[in-house]
């Protein structure tokens, strides 16, 4: 059980790392948002599952899963709201063709 949970947490950490690197590397705000918000989601989920497994079946684990649920609910909402705000502010998404003309948020 412990080994499984360690493995899951490590995978989660890997996704978190990927997301962070994406956050740093991606060229514009929208793409970064993909990296940040989304890779994280899975990474966090995996970490939480790993910890819940490690903890065994108890109320604590249920609470940890609740945390996961809440993150699943709030994270896309937050992302959506920022994206919407960025769009409303008139930030055009970066695309490969017109690299120079982008406006940063």
């Amino acid at each position: 059980m412990v080994a499984i949970s360690i493995f899951i947490i490590l995978v989660g950490l890997f996704f978190l790392l990927a997301g962070t690197i994406g956050l740093l590397r991606f060229p514009d705000f929208y793409t970064r948002m993909h990296a940040a918000g989304k890779c994280d989601t899975l990474g966090v989920l995996l970490c939480l599952i790993g910890m819940a497994l490690y903890n065994g079946f108890s109320l604590i684990s249920i609470k940890i899963m609740f945390i996961a649920v809440f993150i699943f609910l709030t994270s896309p909402t937050a992302t959506h709201s920022i994206a919407r705000a960025a769009m409303n502010c008139g930030i055009t998404p970066w695309s490969k063709d017109e690299e120079g003309g982008r406006i940063e948020g």
Partner: protein, 145 residues
Amino acid sequence: MISRYESIIITTLCKLLIPVIQLYGLYVIMHGHSSPGGGFQGGVILGASFILLVISHGLDEVKKRMSEKLNTIFCSFGLLIYAGLGVLALIFGGNYLDYGHLPIPVTIAEARYLGILGIEIGVGITVMAVMISIFLDISSVGEQE
């Protein structure tokens, strides 16, 4: 910041989250004895839930649930619970805030436990009401003249 959030995603989700957050706030108040938390934290969470409601549903929705008058009453009422418990202890022969002298048929330690619960509730109510009122005041200046 007072009007309803135009995005349906946000309003819907907040609608679902707010009761949960509120219940969580109450949980934090009630279980301050055995786990971290207490009146202030719970009160802030409750207040935050209302702030979330303001952000997502606009001011009117909040006014429906928590009118200015009710808010003021809560502000004072919470503190009255607190100070009143102290006075009650005073009346029943203890020093101020000495919950051991409260007229509850349990041991002194348990009486203190209940006293702590009582004041946590009072603190929670006040903090919630004040947080809402500060936020509403700050964010509604000049918008409803």
